[in-house]
Amino acid sequence: MTAAAPSAKPILKIEEIVKNYGPITAVDRVSLDIREKEFFALLGPSGCGKTTLLRMLAGFEVPTAGRVLLEGRDISPLPPERRPLNLMFQSYALFTHMSVRKNLAYGLEMEKLSRAEIDRRVDEILATTDLVRFADRKPEQLSGGQKQRVALARALVKRPKVLLLDEPLGALDKKLREKMQLELKRMQHEAGITFIIVTHDQEEALVMADRMAILKDGRLLQCGTPEEIYEQPADPFVANFIGVMNFIEGTVSATGAFEAPGLQLAVSSNRSGPASLAVRPEHIAVASAEAGFGGVIEEIAYHGLDRVLHVRTSASQSAIQVRVSAETGARYRPGDRIGLGIDAAKARLFHSAA
């Protein structure tokens, strides 16, 4: 495992890259360093520019400005066929007129390798992706999960320096997707290749990625490990996009207290004025109803391991979500009045723009 652990050395540098389509800016001065052998996720809502960014890395879109450096070499002027990175397409894009084996051999034939070498490497990848039985089938005779593996194998067999994956699990059902998430991570470890994956599924990014970048409207909002992004989101959008977040609008007083109707919480802030307090459901504890801050339970959602209480309070417009163990949750009924204790150390404070 240590051999394939991500190193700090950047393999791919994206410098101030911009893509305009007429008056529309799809990608707006994004800079990123992607490290060798890391699993990197580009995450954002649809239309955020993540796929455009990926297609610029693959060479299918020409950046309006900026550069892409692979191991220090500027690859921006190279056409897709001359870039030592490969893309796994969202539609898989398998050649329907060729067998699985021929699909896998296609990229190697373009490298002008000997027939023996091609056969050897195709056999090898068929074995590692568990596709030996399907080698002579046509893509139409495969299930969605098998097609996905063929698409992955076809890109991996080229031994690219970086593998780009455009929503690789989007077409699979939930169960298979969860299985393939771990499968992808395993293959990335074994191959020792840098993976850059595009996804709109935050859970998928959290599970798979070593580091991730959040994009919105073409701009990079935050880049970091899943823990950093979950625990220290840089702005309200990121906080809301990753996981579940409660927002309470209020003001920070000169004495360093966050105040909202019915709520007063000591915070460490040297700036006063309007702000919103972001707190995860798991960072709110249930206290007795006599405690200062609280509300009425509106709904209780059962999630198996835990229950989420939706509590109507005076402090915010929407109900505050509180995550408790299933056992604790079972003690309450909708309509019960409870007190809430917010863990101020885990909460984030976002000051409103002046």
Partner: protein, 287 residues
């Protein structure tokens, strides 16, 4: 009553009756003529014979068959070579503009076949526009004899059937997932090899459909060779026409026609089989 979808549907009855009365019945009638002798003054003498079919394979007539097939084949190849790039260009145009471009490609089709063919006479004759343009450029020699040549017949046929081929090829190209071509580039193939190994093989059903269409319509055509070939130029269509209207040998004309229809049906059958294979592939891919 149970809901059944496999029962023959009565909604098709009018079309079936129409085809039976005006297509199948006349064909059977003509087919039966082919087995009788010609009357002394035209018409039919009802004595059974296979002699008409034997005459079809007489070297004199077999040569006309082969000549027609050759002309139809050249026409087909030229039409595909011209139509493929055109269809490709249309499929690369912005989606919103494609219907308009297709409309222009098919536009000549909305005028009368005869008028379109006569237009070529205006263009190609010794005092025609083309020779006029050549002398305007400074050409001093004898005007070129462009009309009443095999080249003129092929030109006319290619011109007339080009829209079919463009449409057939366009329809397969436009259904092709563009990510397939991108995947090929991504795997290291340049633009030319991508076309040769991915785009072309996947659009062959369209090429075959358009090609068979042109071939079948060309081999049996008699208007274009009559007008642009100037009578010196015999294709099977002209021969059949002559047998019925000039030589008054209906049985032999019928035999020629039946052999021609057999060739066409065989080709259409092969093409339909190839296409159903290919479309099966596409359906499987979507599932």
């Amino acid at each position: 009553m149970a809901y059944q979808t496999t029962r023959p549907n009565m909604l098709a009855a009018p079309a079936v009756l129409w085809l039976l009365a005006f297509m199948v019945a006349p064909c059977l009638l003509v087919l039966s003529y082919a087995f009788f002798q010609r009357g002394t003054w035209g018409g039919i003498e009802y004595t059974f014979t296979l002699e008409n079919f034997a005459r079809v394979f007489d070297p004199l007539y077999a040569r006309i068959f082969l000549n027609s097939a050759r002309i139809a084949l050249i026409t087909t190849i030229l039409a595909i070579l011209i139509a493929y790039p055109a269809a490709y260009a249309i499929s690369l145009a912005p989606r919103v503009r494609q219907p308009m471009l297709l409309f222009f490609a098919v536009l000549p089709f909305w005028s009368n076949y005869l008028i379109r063919t006569y237009a070529w006479i205006v263009l190609l004759n010794r005092e025609g526009l083309l020779n006029g343009f050549l002398s305007y450029l400074g050409y001093q020699g004898e005007p070129l004899s462009l009309l009443y040549t095999e080249a003129a017949v092929i030109t006319g046929l290619v011109y007339n059937y080009l829209p079919f081929v463009i449409l057939a090829i366009y329809s397969t190209l436009s259904r092709l997932n563009p990510e397939l071509m991108e995947a090929s580039r991504d795997l290291g193939a340049g633009a030319f090899r991508t076309f040769w190994r991915v785009t072309l093989p996947l659009t062959l059903p369209g090429v075959a459909a358009g090609g068979v269409f042109v071939f079948v319509l060309s081999i049996g055509n008699f208007v274009t060779p009559a007008l642009l070939g100037g009578g010196r130029f015999q294709m099977i269509g002209n021969l059949v026409y002559d047998q019925f209207l000039t030589a008054n040998d209906w049985p032999f004309g019928a035999a020629l026609g039946m052999v021609l229809i057999a060739i066409m049906v065989a080709l259409l059958f092969l093409q339909a089989r190839a296409t159903s294979h290919a479309s099966g592939e596409r359906k499987g891919d979507e599932a």
